[in-house]
C-alpha cells in the first residue's frame, strides 16, 4: 500500500461518521458530519430575494416562489402555504425554471420582410414604430363609420387580435381597451374560447 493511499484511507476513516457515533458523540449532530456534508450548502443560500408567483401553465393557479440572485432567477418551487398546491407542482409547473432560463428563448425582435426567405434582426423601437404605422394605415384604409343602412358601426374589420389565455388580466384589459375602445377593432379573440 503506497503511503499516499494509506494517508487517504486514514483520512477517509477519520471522516467516516459511524465510529464517532458509536463511541457516544451526539449521533445527530457533530458526530454525523463528514467532509462531504460540510461541503453541501443550502440550495437557496445564494438567493438575495424571493417573490410570489403563479404557475404560468394551466388554470389550477398553483402558487410558486421564485428565488433570484441579482437579476437571475435561480430557483422556482411550489409555495407550501398555498391552499391550492401546498408546495407541490406537476411536471409542467416544475418545468417553469426550464422555461424561464431556456437558451432557445427569443430575446430580440426578428423581422421578415415581404417576399423574403429569412429572418432579420431589428431594434425593438424600430419594430414598435413600424407596427404602429401599419395599424394606423390599415385602420385608416378600412374604417367603417356607418353601415349602408345608416347604422353607426365605427369599426374596422381588417385588423384582428388573437391572444392566448395565459395573458395577465391587466394585459387583457389594455388589449380590449386599446383595440376595441380606441381603434374600433371587432376581431378580438382569445384562446379562452377554443
Amino acid at each position: 500500500m503506497s503511503p499516499s493511499l494509506q494517508t487517504r484511507l486514514r483520512g477517509a476513516l477519520r471522516d467516516w461518521s459511524l465510529p464517532r457515533q458509536l463511541v457516544g458523540a451526539d449521533p445527530a449532530r457533530q458526530a454525523a458530519e463528514s467532509a462531504a456534508s460540510r461541503r453541501t450548502r443550502p440550495r437557496l443560500e445564494d438567493a438575495d430575494r424571493v417573490g410570489t408567483s403563479i404557475c404560468p401553465y394551466c388554470a389550477v393557479g398553483c402558487a410558486q416562489l421564485i428565488y433570484a440572485k441579482g437579476n437571475d432567477v435561480i430557483h422556482v418551487e411550489g409555495d407550501p402555504t398555498s391552499p391550492i398546491n401546498q408546495g407541490t407542482l406537476c411536471p409542467k409547473g416544475a418545468a417553469t425554471l426550464g422555461w424561464m432560463l431556456n437558451p432557445q428563448r427569443l430575446t430580440g425582435v426578428k423581422y421578415r420582410a415581404p417576399y423574403s426567405d429569412h429572418w432579420e434582426e431589428r431594434p425593438l423601437e424600430w419594430a414598435m414604430d413600424r407596427i404602429a404605422q401599419l395599424v394606423k394605415q390599415t385602420r385608416d384604409e378600412t374604417f367603417v363609420g356607418h353601415l349602408p343602412d345608416g347604422t353607426t358601426a365605427n369599426h374596422t374589420l381588417a385588423i384582428a387580435e388573437l391572444g392566448g389565455a395565459t395573458l395577465d388580466n391587466e394585459e387583457n384589459y389594455l388589449i380590449k381597451k386599446l383595440c376595441g375602445g380606441g381603434l374600433g377593432m371587432v376581431w378580438i379573440e382569445n384562446q379562452a374560447r377554443v
Binding site: S53, W99, R105, I131, N154, A160, L162, A165, Y173
Partner: protein
C-alpha cells in the same frame, strides 16, 4: 360559459377547488383530471380518503379512471344521452331533493301553452324557422311574460325584439304550479323530454352498459340531499363539441335537481386549461363581450344609442338591474374626461359588431383576405386552431402579422418550415406578409394577475427583469397605444375621436419604461371620479359618471390605495373555516362558493349540521357563515316583494331566491332565453358521426355553426371512407399548442413525440403493431404518427354496431425537442352555436398502416 350563466346566473365555476374535499361523491366527466389538472385532483383523492365515491365517465380509460371507484365508458360526443338518462332516472324514481328544487329552481314554473319539445317534434323545439335555421323563442317563455336572458352575455337569436314584454317581470312572479300537475310546468316538460332516455337507450346511444349507468345514477342520487353533496368536475371534454354548452347545461339540471349548488362539497367545477382562461373571459379579449359580461354593442340589435343599449340589456329584476352603473363606469374608465352625459358617455366610440367575429371565422376571414393585419399574442393557431392546413394556406394573405411569443412557434415559421413549404404549395418569395416576431416575458419577469379556474385572482411579482428585449404584453400594448395616440394627436377626423379620447395615462417605472400593472388593476377595481379614490366594491358604483370601473365584478380586488387583495397570501390554519378568504381575491366580493344562500333551507337554516355553510342569523338580522353570503346581506328569508309597488332590481326577488343574477332568482332548469339551440339539452350526434341519431330524426345540432366549403369539408353521417371516431386530448407533460413544453427539456423528455392511441382489435384488423407508423386521414388532411396500441380505448357497441375510437394528443408540431405531426390538420372548422367553440373531441377519420417505416415527414407527406 353560457351554460353555467344560463342555468345559475354567472358563467364560472360555482365552487372552489379545495371544497371538493367536502364532497361525498365526485363525478368527473369531460375531463381527465388526474392527468390534466393533477394538483387539483389531489382534492378528489382527499375526498376519496374521507370516504367519497369517485366516478369517471370518459371515452378513454385514463389515470383518472384508474383512481376512480367507478368507470363508465361512453362514445365520444354522446354525453347528453348519458346525462339526459340521469335526469330521467332521478325524476322517474323520485330521487330529487324536493324542498331545494321546488324553492330554488324553476321546476314549478309554467311555460307558454304553445311550447313543444323535442320529444314531440322529432328533435326540434317549437319556434324552428327552417329558412333562417334559427329558433324564434316566443314559445319558450314563461306563460304570459317574456323572460330576459339571465346574463347580459347571452343574446338569443330571436327574430324579433322582446320590446315592451321585457318589463313584465315587475308585474309579479312568473306563473307557477307548486303541485307540479300543470302539463306545461317545467317538471312535466322535463319528464316528457327525457322519457325516452331510459337506461336501455343510454346503452344504445353511448355504448355504456346499462348496469354501469345505473350504478352511476344510484351513487349520485344516494350522495345528494340534506346530509350529503355531490360535486361534478368537467373540462374541455364537454366544451369542445357542437353540443358543448348543452352538455354542461345537462349537468346543471342534475345538480340543481339534486340540491348540489351553493353548498359545500357540491357545485360544478369548470376546469380551465390555461393560467387565465377565466380571466380572459371576465376581462374579455372576446369579440362579443365588454369587461364584466356586458355585451359588446351590436349593429344587429337595438343598440343604436346608449339609451337603446341600456333598455335592451338591462334586466328589470334581480342583480342585473344595476347594469347601467357598470356600463357608465366602464365608459368613464375608458374615455375619462372625454365621457360625458352629452356624448352618451362615449358610447358611440365603441365599435359595433356585425356577426360572429370569433376565432373560427377569423381564420376563414384571414384566408379570404378580409383581415389584413393580425396581432397574435401568445397563441399558436397553426397547432391549436382547427383545420390547420386551411389556416396555413390562409396566413399568406395577411399584409402584416405580429407574433409575440417566448419561443418561435409554428404560426411564426409556417412560411418557411411547414409541410406546405416542403410540398411547394407555399413559397416564401410569393408571400407578401411583413412578419414581426417579438420576444415576450413570463410571470416572474412581469407583474400582474391571473384568474384561476375557480375565479381566484392571484398576483404574481416581477422578481427579475426579462432577458434582452423581452417585454410584457402590457408593455407592448401600452407603448403601441402611446404611439398611436401621438400619431392621431393632430387629427380632426371624427373616426379618430376614440383613440384621441382614450384614457391612456399609466405610471411607468424602470429602464424598460414598464407600465405599472398595479395602476391598471386599480382601474379595473374602480375609483371615484374625478378624485380617484378606490371603491371598496361594486356596490359603490354609480350611473352618473362619478365612478370609473374597468370590470365591475373585480371591484374589491384593490379596495384601497395600498391594498392589493390579489397579492394577499394568508391561508386558513388547519381546522379553520377552510374558505381561505385571506388568500387572493375571488370575484365577486371575494366569494368562494357562489349561490351559497342555497346552502340554507328556505327559512335560512342549514340543511344539515354536516353541510352548514351560510345561514340567516335572526339575532343579528343578517346572513352569516364561513363565506361572503351571495345574497343581500340583510334580506330576511321571509321577505316577499310587494308587487303592487312594481318592485325592480333586488326588491323584486324574495328571501328564498338564491340565484340573484337571474331575473326570477331561480336556477333555470328550463332556459327560456339566452341559448340558441333550445331550452333543454337534447342528444344530437356530433356533426361527423358514424351513427344515425337513435333518439330523433334530427341528426345533429340544428343550429350548429357550420362553415362547409371546399377547403373545410365535412364527412357525411356513416361515410364508409371515415369509419372511426377520433378524439383529441392533452398530456400531463405538455401544454396546449406545445410551445411552452416542447422546447423545455424536462417535459420534452417525458413525452418526446406524437402518437395515436388505437384499440388492439382495430390494430389487428389493420395489421398495425405497437410503435408502427400509421396514417390518419380526414377530408381536411392527413398526418403520420406512431401507433400506441392500447386497451384504454375500448370498442363500443352502438346501436348494434361495433364502433372504434382513436385518441390523439394535439400538442405537437415541428418546433422543439418533442415533435410530431399536427393533430388539428385533421379537425374541421365547426362549432357550438352559442359559443363558436370547435368540435375537436368527436369527429371521424380513417386509419391505415404506413407502408414504409420512416421518420416523420410532415402532415400529408405520407406515401402509404
Amino acid at each position: 360559459m353560457p351554460s353555467l350563466g344560463a342555468s345559475f346566473g354567472r358563467g364560472a365555476a360555482t365552487t372552489a377547488q379545495w371544497d371538493v374535499t367536502n364532497a361525498d361523491c365526485v363525478v368527473i366527466m369531460g375531463s381527465n383530471m388526474a392527468e390534466n389538472h393533477p394538483i387539483a385532483f389531489r382534492f378528489v383523492m382527499q375526498a376519496k380518503e374521507k370516504g367519497a365515491t369517485i366516478i369517471h365517465v370518459d371515452p378513454r380509460f385514463t389515470r383518472t379512471s384508474a383512481l376512480a371507484d367507478l368507470y363508465a365508458p361512453l362514445r365520444a360526443g354522446s354525453d347528453i344521452a348519458f346525462l339526459g338518462g340521469l335526469i330521467s332516472y332521478i325524476l322517474e324514481r323520485d330521487l330529487w331533493f324536493k324542498e331545494y328544487a321546488l324553492n330554488y329552481t324553476n321546476l314549478a314554473t309554467v311555460v307558454e301553452d304553445d311550447f313543444k319539445d323535442a320529444s314531440q317534434l322529432d328533435g326540434l323545439f317549437s319556434g324552428w324557422d327552417a329558412e333562417s335555421r334559427a329558433y324564434r323563442v316566443d314559445s319558450w317563455q314563461y306563460q304570459g311574460e317574456a323572460v330576459p336572458s339571465s346574463s347580459a352575455e347571452q343574446q338569443a337569436q330571436t327574430t324579433e325584439p322582446y320590446g315592451e314584454k321585457l318589463k313584465r317581470p315587475s308585474d309579479g312572479p312568473p306563473p307557477s304550479d307548486p303541485s307540479l300537475q300543470h302539463p306545461n310546468c317545467v317538471y312535466q316538460i322535463l319528464r316528457r323530454h327525457y322519457a325516452a332516455y331510459t337506461p336501455e337507450m343510454v346503452e344504445r346511444v353511448t355504448g355504456c352498459p346499462k348496469e354501469t349507468f345505473v350504478k352511476v345514477a344510484e351513487a349520485v342520487a344516494r350522495n345528494s340531499g340534506r346530509e350529503r353533496t355531490t360535486a361534478w368536475c368537467y373540462a374541455v371534454g364537454w366544451t369542445h363539441h357542437t353540443t358543448g354548452v348543452q352538455m354542461i347545461r345537462a349537468c346543471a339540471i342534475i345538480q340543481a335537481l339534486l340540491g348540489n349548488i351553493g353548498r359545500p362539497g357540491g357545485g360544478i367545477l369548470a376546469l380551465r386549461g390555461h393560467s387565465s382562461i377565466q380571466g380572459s373571459t371576465d376581462i374579455p379579449t372576446l369579440y362579443n363581450l365588454l369587461p364584466g359580461y356586458l355585451p359588446q354593442p351590436s349593429a344587429q340589435r337595438s343598440h343604436r344609442t346608449f339609451k337603446d343599449y341600456l333598455e335592451a340589456e338591462q334586466v328589470p329584476t334581480g342583480w342585473w338591474a344595476n347594469f347601467p352603473k357598470y356600463a357608465v363606469s366602464l365608459l368613464r374608465a375608458w374615455y375619462g374626461e372625454g365621457a360625458s352625459p352629452d356624448n352618451e358617455w362615449g358610447y358611440q366610440w365603441l365599435p359595433k359588431i356585425v356577426g360572429d367575429h370569433s376565432q373560427l371565422p377569423m381564420m376563414l376571414a384571414i384566408g379570404d383576405g378580409l383581415i389584413r393585419g393580425l396581432l397574435l399574442i401568445g397563441q399558436n393557431p397553426v397547432v391549436g386552431g382547427h383545420n390547420s392546413h386551411l389556416i396555413r394556406k390562409g396566413l399568406p394573405n395577411l399584409d402584416w402579422m405580429v407574433v409575440r411569443e417566448i419561443f418561435e412557434n409554428e404560426t411564426a415559421s409556417y412560411w418557411y418550415r411547414s409541410p406546405e413549404v416542403e410540398r411547394g404549395e407555399i413559397r416564401p418569395d410569393q408571400i407578401k406578409t411583413e412578419i414581426f416576431l417579438m420576444p415576450a416575458s413570463l410571470a416572474g419577469e412581469k407583474e400582474g394577475t391571473f384568474t384561476n379556474t375557480h375565479r381566484l385572482v392571484q398576483w404574481h411579482d416581477r422578481v427579475v427583469d426579462p432577458p434582452g428585449e423581452c417585454r410584457s404584453d402590457l408593455w407592448f400594448f401600452y407603448h403601441l397605444g402611446r404611439r398611436l395616440t401621438a400619431l392621431h394627436a393632430d387629427s380632426d377626423d371624427p373616426k379618430d375621436e376614440p383613440i384621441k379620447n382614450l384614457s391612456w395615462e399609466y405610471p411607468v417605472f424602470g429602464a424598460h419604461v414598464e407600465p405599472s400593472a398595479e395602476a391598471v388593476l386599480k382601474e379595473i377595481n374602480g375609483y371615484t371620479w374625478p378624485d380617484r379614490r378606490q371603491v371598496a366594491d361594486y356596490q359603490e358604483l354609480k350611473d352618473d359618471g362619478t365612478t370609473a370601473c374597468g370590470c365591475w365584478i373585480y371591484s374589491g380586488v384593490f379596495p384601497a390605495e395600498d391594498h392589493n387583495q390579489a397579492r394577499s397570501r394568508v391561508p386558513d390554519a388547519p381546522g379553520g373555516p377552510g374558505t381561505h378568504l385571506g388568500w387572493g381575491f375571488a370575484w365577486p366580493s371575494n366569494r368562494r362558493i357562489l349561490y351559497n344562500r342555497a346552502s340554507a333551507d328556505p327559512d335560512g337554516q342549514p340543511w344539515s349540521e354536516r353541510k352548514r355553510y351560510v345561514w340567516w342569523d335572526a339575532e343579528q338580522d343578517k346572513w352569516v357563515g364561513r363565506d361572503d353570503p351571495d345574497f343581500v346581506a340583510d334580506k330576511p328569508p321571509d321577505y316577499t316583494p310587494d308587487w303592487s309597488k312594481r318592485p325592480t332590481g333586488m326588491d323584486a326577488l324574495d328571501g328564498r331566491s338564491p340565484f340573484i343574477m337571474i331575473a326570477d332568482g331561480k336556477s333555470s332548469l328550463f332556459v327560456p332565453a339566452g341559448l340558441k339551440d333550445g331550452p333543454l339539452p337534447t342528444h344530437y350526434e356530433p356533426v361527423e358521426s358514424p351513427a344515425r341519431n337513435p333518439l330523433y330524426g334530427q341528426q345533429d345540432n340544428p343550429v350548429a355553426k357550420k362553415w362547409e366549403r371546399p377547403d373545410n369539408p365535412y364527412h357525411a353521417v356513416g361515410d364508409p371512407r371515415y369509419p372511426y371516431v377520433i378524439t383529441t386530448y392533452r398530456l400531463t407533460e405538455h401544454h396546449a399548442g406545445g410551445i411552452p413544453t416542447r422546447l423545455v427539456p424536462s417535459t420534452a423528455e417525458l413525452q418526446p413525440e406524437g402518437f395515436a392511441e388505437i384499440p388492439p382489435e382495430l390494430a389487428r384488423e389493420k395489421g398495425i403493431a405497437n410503435l408502427d407508423w400509421v396514417v390518419i386521414s380526414t377530408a381536411r388532411g392527413e398526418i403520420v404518427t406512431r401507433a400506441l396500441v392500447t386497451e384504454r380505448l375500448r370498442p363500443l357497441e352502438i346501436d348494434g354496431r361495433r364502433i372504434y375510437q382513436i385518441g390523439m394528443p394535439w400538442h405537437f408540431g415541428w418546433h422543439g425537442y418533442a415533435t410530431g405531426d399536427i393533430a388539428n390538420t385533421l379537425s374541421a372548422i365547426v362549432g357550438d352555436p352559442n359559443t363558436s367553440i370547435h368540435e375537436g373531441k368527436a369527429f371521424t377519420c380513417d386509419l391505415r398502416k404506413r407502408a414504409v417505416s420512416s421518420q416523420l415527414s410532415g402532415d400529408a407527406g405520407a406515401d402509404g
